[in-house]
Structures are given as C-alpha cells and as structure tokens.
C-alpha cells in the first residue's frame, strides 16, 4: 500500500479517487467557490446543506518523494506527529477536544502529498480552524511523544507491509521499478529509517513542507463560502509563508529491459504484480490510459477478468491501480493466482491480453462501456461531502485546477479507439515492465508452541 494513514478510519482509498477522476457532466451541479489567501494558500468551498456536517481537507504538497536515504518515511511519520501537540492544544488534546465537540479526524500520506481530514458538525467550525492554525504554526516536538509514535508507525508497517503479502510485494515492486527517482522507497519508510530519524531531520521536514503556500484547503458541506473565507482570514491568513520544498529534479531514466524480482516467504497462495512506467497524472494520455485500464480490468466483463478468472480459471482476482502522481509513475497490475497455479501462467495470459489491445482497436461497445462506468463512478464519488472534498482537492492539486474535474466528460468523449491502441503500444512494452512474484516457501513452517 502506498497510501498509508493515521488510523483505520481511512476508508477513502486514493486509488478509488483516481478511478473517479472522471466524467462529470456539468460543473454547475457541484458549484465550487475559491479564494487565494494573502499567504498563498488556496481555499475551495463546495456548499451542500443536505446534512449538518462538514468535511475539511488540507492537502500539503509534500510526500515521500521529498525524502532521501536515511529519512524515508519522514513525511508519513510527520503526519502522525501533527496530532501530537502544538502550542494551544498540547499532547493528546487535539483529539480530545475535537471528539468532545462532535468531530473526528484522520490523515493519509502518499508519495506526493500529505492530506489532513476533519469531519465535524458545523457547530465545531471555529474550533477546527483554531486547531488547524495552531498545528501548522506551532507544532511541538516532545521527545517522549516521538519515541512512542515511532513504535506506533513501526506497528503500522508490520500491519500493512511485513505481515501482508500484498503490501510486501508492492514495496519491492516500486523499489525495483525505480532506480533513480525518489518514488523507489516506501511511503511508510524502511524499518531501519523509522528507528533512526533524528529530531533535527524532523524539524527540517516540518519547515520544508508546512508552509501555507504549499497547501490547498477544500471544504465541503453545510457552510457558505463567505463564512469559510472569514474563518480563513482570521485563523489561516496571518500564518507567515516561507519557501516550499525544493523541486524534485531527479527524473527516472528510461527502462531498457524487463526487471524481475522474487519474494519467498511462508504463504498459502502465490502472488504476482506487474508494473509499467506511465506518465504523471496531468499528462494528456491520462484519459486514454484510464479508458484502456477500464476495458482491461474493471468489472467482471473486463478482458482480464474474463480471461484469467472466468475462462482460464487460473486467478481469483485481477486488478490494476494508478495513483495520482506529480512525476512519471507506474500502473500496477495485481493477479492473485489460485493455489498451485504457476504465477507465470497468469503473466502469460495477461501479456496476451495486452498484446490483443495493441494489435487491434477496442470495440465501440467497450469504449462506450468504459465511458459509462466513468460517469457512474463519478457520481458515486460525488454523492458524499467527504468524497467531494477529496475529489475536488485531488483535481486541484494533481491537475493544477479543480475545473478539470468538470472537463473530464469532454476529455473522455474525445478518446478514440485509436488513442486507446496507441497508449497500449506506447507504454505496455516488455522492456518497460517490472515483475514481482511471491512464491510460497513453507519449508521452515513448523514452529513448536
């Protein structure tokens, strides 16, 4: 898992958000009002009075791509520390005060961003702004809290990576797909880095990422733009701005041949992940790639499901995911082979389907289907204030403009069968591929109680 969060509540997977970076029909259905504060923070408000609640998201443009060897996982650790006390709300107080006023919170970190989420009844609005302003400006670095939070993050790593086959294989896949660019290390960080970050590194990271001009705030729910802008003027605008993180200048070199890696561990089932390098989210090929991905992977009528799960009966599941990314990224394909099935059999079937998509254009009905799926998914994402805050923010941050959300219909309509074939040929080549396989190794399984 690349997206890791503060607590279990993180229900909204970013991969879902990405799948629904899709077709709205008309922008006036979900009007958004924006304002840029004097300190550079952009604020987007989407009013909806259907429930008396508010979802407030703050996207900071800092993630594990802004780290380096020895400091991997620091953005995510920092995400945890943002709940551990500032000047006005001391250690443990933020959560206590927020919950006592009917609010709840969470946060998640990706390779590119750190996102803070507050969900609360509208009556708690001033309190939430007071809390957010306090921690952006005056975070405290209590050595005791750092010590115990290190343990919490280590436990999170054991949960999501070390004791989870998918998490483990995912980590190895990224580490092998990239040899130059910082996307190579895991968001949660290597265990040895989790154990060794220093106070200086932590403070430096805070100063680097947590400037108002490096953040975007999205508020959806039972509020008016006027009252939000007033809150922002009072609590957020006085916060001084400083230089954002230095640009990430390293670019990944072109992959010149297939890379393969194997993980052997005790396990009942094997697992296989395949990655291909693709462009960053705001690339013009985004829409054609999403259509291709839908045709190949989404729903039980998709080509991959039909082939691997239904017809050949060699896999339990096959899926793909692409995360929003500032820099050229990868599409990850995951196949869960049945017990005893050689993962290479799944690979072979997948490559044949990919070749089919290169050799002939998709049918009119498949193209139409992909667009319909995108439309329905869009409404599923936009039906809650929480989904809206996340989607609007994701568009604003990764496409540079939330309005692209409302252009997506047009952009998808423009995708032709030839475009889909072209992106299949461009990106899905064997030389551009990394394959990670987990092979069950149960030789030393017996341990005596």
């Amino acid at each position: 898992m690349k997206m890791i969060g503060r607590s279990f509540r993180t229900a909204l997977l970013l991969s879902c958000a990405c799948a629904s970076l899709t077709i709205p029909v008309r922008g006036q259905e979900f009007p958004v009002v924006t304002k840029t504060l004097k300190n550079g923070m952009k604020v987007l408000v989407q009013t909806d009075h259907s429930i008396p609640n508010v979802a407030l998201y703050i996207f900071y443009r800092i993630g594990s791509r802004n780290e380096g060897p020895g400091t991997t996982g620091l953005s995510h650790f920092f995400e945890h520390m943002m709940f551990n006390g500032a000047k006005k709300y001391g250690p443990g107080e933020l959560d206590k005060v927020m919950e006592a006023n009917g609010g709840a919170n969470n946060a998640y970190t990706t390779r590119d961003v750190t996102v803070y989420q507050d969900w609360f009844p509208r009556s708690a609005l001033p309190l939430i702004y007071d809390i957010e302003a306090d921690r952006i400006q005056n975070l405290s670095f209590d050595p005791q809290k750092i010590k115990s939070e290190r343990e919490v993050v280590a436990s999170e790593r054991r949960l999501r990576t070390d004791n989870d086959n998918g998490g483990l294989l995912d980590e190895q896949l990224w580490a092998t797909s990239y040899i130059a660019h910082p996307y190579q290390w895991p968001v949660v960080g290597w265990m040895s880095d989790i154990e060794h970050w220093t106070m200086e590194q932590l403070k430096h990271h805070f100063e680097m990422g947590y400037s108002p001009n490096n953040a975007t705030m999205v508020v959806a729910g039972d509020v008016s733009p006027e009252e939000i802008f007033q809150m922002c003027e009072k609590y957020i605008e006085p916060i001084p701005t400083h230089a954002p993180p230095p640009p990430v200048t390293t670019t990944e070199t072109e992959q010149l041949g297939e890379r393969r890696l194997i993980v052997r561990k005790p396990s009942q089932l094997p697992l296989v992940f395949v990655a291909y390098h693709i462009p960053q989210t705001n690339s013009p090929d985004f829409y054609a790639l999403n259509v291709l991905r839908t045709v190949l992977f989404q729903g039980e009528s998709s080509r991959m499901y039909q082939r691997l799960v239904d017809k050949d009966e060699i896999a339990l599941d096959v899926s793909s995911s692409v995360e929003p990314a500032f820099d050229p990224t990868i599409i990850e394909i995951a196949a869960q082979p049945k017990q005893g099935v050689d993962p290479q059999k799944c690979e072979k079937a997948m490559y044949e389907e990919i070749e089919n998509a290169k050799n002939a254009v998709v049918s009119d009905r498949e193209l139409e289907k992909a667009k319909n799926i995108r439309l329905a998914d869009f409404y599923r994402e936009m039906r809650t204030i929480n989904g809206r805050a996340n989607t609007i923010g994701t568009y604003e941050v990764f496409f540079g403009d939330y309005k692209k959300l409302f252009d997506a219909a047009k952009n998808y309509s423009a995708v032709t069968k030839e475009d889909v074939q072209r992106v299949a040929k461009t990106y899905f080549g064997a030389n551009n591929r990394t394959v990670a396989t987990l092979i069950p190794d149960n030789a030393e399984e017996k341990s005596k109680p």
């Binding site: 009844p121 993050v153 949960l159 005790p266 239904d310 329905a376 039906r383």
Partner: protein
C-alpha cells in the same frame, strides 16, 4: 492496490455502525420520509425518494443468512448469493456481466449471519435495465453446474489467501471459538473443507427454501418518481410466485461461563493479533443506545480508553478497539488489537487492566458528555447516501425497529446518565469470563500467554477450517 482487508475492516465497520447516533447539538436529524407497501405475493416494498445525485439503489434483504446453512456445509448461503448473477433464465454469467458493466452499475450479493442481501446501484436514467438485471438475478438464477464448481473452487482458495493475512481471519477464529457449534460460530463464507462438501443440489434447495417474496424485504432509495416506481416494482416483482417458507430460528446464545484461549500459530508472524471478550447483545437489546455511548468511551473512537492506553500512551500498537456486533440473538463483543511479538503479553495485560479499571471506575461526567457529542456529531454521514438509506430501512424492518431508532436517537443518547453507564458496564462488559483468540508466532509467544486461561487450544493457521477443527 485493490486488496480488501476484511478482518479489520469488518470490525471497524461494525464499530462505526454502533457509534451511529444523532446529529449535532442544535439539529435534530430524521430519516427522510419513506413508505411501505406489501404486494399481493407478500413482498414488502420500502420506498425512499432522495434527490441530489442521479443514482438509484435497490436492496433486497432475504431473511435467512449463514445461520441457516445446513450443518457441515458452511458457506451455502454465501455461495447461493454469489451465484445469483452467474447465470439466469435470460443470461449467461458473461452476458449478465456485460449488461451490468455497460451501464456502469454496481452489483453485490452476500450472506451475513442473520440475512442474505442483494444490492444494485445504477444511474436513474438506466432504471429499466437496472431493475431488469436486478430482478433477473434475484428471481431467475439457474445455478449452472460449471459456475457452481468455479465459484466453490475460487472460494476455497480465497479462504486460503485470507489466512496469509491474520487480520482478515482473526474475527472468523474468534466467532468460532466463542460460539463453538452455534450457527454464529460458523464462517459465513465457509472454509476449505465445508466448501468442498457443497453440491449444487444444496444450493438450489437453499434458494428455493429461502428466496421467496414473503421472506424478502425490498428497499429502493434514490432519485425516482414515487408513483412511477411503485407501478414499475409491481410489474417486475408482483409476478414472483409466493410460497410458504419455514424460516429457521436461530437458537439462543448465552455468555461463556469460563476462560479459554486459542492460539493460532503463524510461524512467520512478527506481530500478534489478538481478540478477547464474550457474547454481547442482540440488535433489539433495550440497553443498545447506552451501550453505544459506553463503548464509544471504552474502545469505540480514537481517544477511547483502549486506544489511549495501547497506542497513544504506550506505543504498543497502531490501533486498539472494542465492538458489539449486535444480531438477531446476542452477537459477539470483543476487544481487538495487535502488537509486535515482544510486547504481546504487556499489551494484552494492559488491555485487561483497562477493562478492569473500567469496571471499577466507570465513566466520568466529562467522558459521557464528550461521547454524546461525538456520537451525535458523527452520525449524519451515516444516512447521507441512498445506498445507506436503503440498507437502514430494510434492516430496521427486519429487526423490528422503527424510525425512532434514528429519529429518537439524539434524545436517547442524551438520556444516558452516569448511573445508567455504570449498570451497562456491569451487565454487558465481561470481566472474569473471557474468551481469547491470538494469531501469532507460537514458538515466540506460546509459553507466555498460557497464563490467560487454564483451558487452552492451539492449531496451525495452515490447518483447514477455523474452529472447531473440521473433521475431514
């Protein structure tokens, strides 16, 4: 990656549902108006119009779940539900998938302990085809032999795969060890052995015995026109032939009156996943709102006693929580967490101390006030979508709960006093008699955890089944 994380997720969802209460201080939240119609064939139809996004949710609740599985064939209800879309009188599985995906519809069918459910969601503009697909699956499945075999084989492997991730299966071992041979002890999805025993006949028999208009509640929520919808539903579902159903009654459950511990050995685990507790409450328990308030304080939110102790203060874990999974008859109550091998005993000891302290000291006025605000403030997003609303009105109808479950929740939450909280702790939170289930590296933690119970059991996670062990 699209990898579901069931175990934990299930627990988390249960907790979330249990917290559900009413709105913020000044607001009083109500379920949107909805109506109930009983068709001539006995089908109960619930209609709730909700405008906002052009989506429609159709949800059928069939009043028999995995508790109605034939003995030794755990998983029949679940497999039956899973096969509904895999071949109908009109469509092969492939045709069904093609038609469904073409309109971007979502379709889910599953079985829980108390009931089975079938749900479809589609754009309002696709009403005719969406409803036709939904009714085709619900009313006219044909259970083709090839599809039966395929799904059974996949399900066996899915159980094996789940065992590679302890958090996915902890709840299944826990239910089994807590309830034994009672139907609530069965894994709803079956296990590696029970699934291989299931024949097509058992599935057809289960379908015919339970999928009938008189045993089904149909809830429709979303953007539609009420009069048109009623007419349409009568056309589509009015022809479903009625027949008599002998709904299996679920035997009563009672708390376990001893201590016992099951250690499931996963030799490569670097972290121990544990649950302990006892039998909890029924969905209609008169104390349910007070329990919700009290459990919020104990283990139902980030600043709960459990999470404060095991995560915030000690750093033993990423999360610790407690849940009441309330069902037709009393369902499980459990404390749940995980910690690295080395801190297994300190973490469990601490969780037990938190429970003892809770019994001794009860809750403070401040905690009570905070929990009430939290529940009321966090409730509204639980009735935000038509999907949630369809499930809620059907579930209320099934359990015999009225709209007051939500409309009066705020008042009921506010009525919980420290005295009531104290009684609830004594009555519903176990203290001495606890059932423990641990999944971890037995060679590292085995001897140390013996102290928790004199009656102990152990088995490797690679052995088929959960608990009791399957007889092959």
């Amino acid at each position: 990656m699209k990898r579901a994380r069931f175990g934990l997720h299930v627990l988390a969802v249960v907790v979330a549902v249990l917290f559900a209460a009413c709105s913020a201080a000044a607001q009083t939240l109500h379920l949107p108006p909805h109506e109930k119609v009983v068709l001539k064939n006995g089908l109960t139809v619930l209609l709730l119009e909700k405008h906002g996004v052009p989506l429609l949710n159709v949800y059928a609740l069939v009043k028999t779940g995995s508790a109605g599985d034939p003995a030794g064939e755990d998983g029949v209800a679940s497999i039956t539900a899973g096969l509904l879309r895999k071949g109908t009188k009109k469509r092969t599985a492939q045709q069904f998938a093609a038609d469904l995906d073409y309109i971007g519809a979502a379709f889910e069918s599953e079985a829980g302990a108390d009931f089975s459910s079938v749900s479809a969601e589609f754009l309002t503009k696709d009403l005719a085809l969406g409803l036709e697909l939904f009714s085709d699956a619900l009313l006219h499945p044909t259970f083709p032999e090839a599809e039966v075999k395929k799904l059974l084989a996949q399900s066996v492997d899915a159980v094996r795969g789940a065992k590679d991730d302890p958090q996915q299966v902890l709840g299944l071992y826990y239910d089994g060890y807590l309830y034994g041979t009672h139907p609530y002890g069965r894994p709803a999805g079956g296990d590696e052995v029970s699934l291989q025993r299931i024949q097509r006949d058992a599935i057809v028999k289960f379908y015919e015995a339970n999928y009938a208009p008189g045993n089904t509640l149909l809830a429709v929520a979303g953007e539609f026109n009420g009069a048109e919808m009623r007419k349409k539903l009568e056309e589509v579902f009015g022809a479903w032939p009625a027949h008599t159903i002998a709904t299996p009654t679920i035997p009563a459950t009672a708390p376990v009156k001893s201590k016992r511990l099951l250690l499931v050995d996963k030799p490569d685990a670097t972290q121990t996943y544990f649950a302990f507790g006892n039998v909890g409450i029924a969905r209609t328990d008169p104390d349910r709102v007070a329990i919700r308030v009290v459990n919020t304080i104990f283990g139902g939110r980030f600043t709960s006693e459990l999470n404060e102790a095991l995560r915030v203060e000690s750093g033993y874990t990423y999360g610790a929580s407690s849940f009441f999974d309330s069902r037709k008859v009393p369902g499980p109550f459990g404390v749940f967490s995980f910690t690295k091998n080395e801190t297994t005993v300190p973490a469990i000891d601490l969780a037990l101390q938190v429970l003892q302290k809770f019994h001794k000291q009860g809750v403070t006025d401040e905690q009570l006030k905070s929990a009430k605000s939290y529940i009321k403030g966090q409730f509204p997003p639980n009735i935000e979508t038509s999907r949630q609303l369809a499930q809620i009105i059907a579930s209320h109808e099934f359990y015999g709960l009225g709209d007051d479950e939500i409309n009066q929740l705020e008042a009921r939450v506010d009525a919980v006093t420290p005295e009531i909280a104290k009684q609830v702790i004594q009555k519903h939170f176990p203290s001495e008699n606890l059932v423990f289930v641990l999944i971890g590296k037995a060679s590292a933690i085995g001897p140390a955890v013996e102290k928790y119970a004199e009656k102990r059991d152990a088995r490797p996670i690679s052995d088929p089944g959960f608990w009791p062990p399957e007889k092959k």
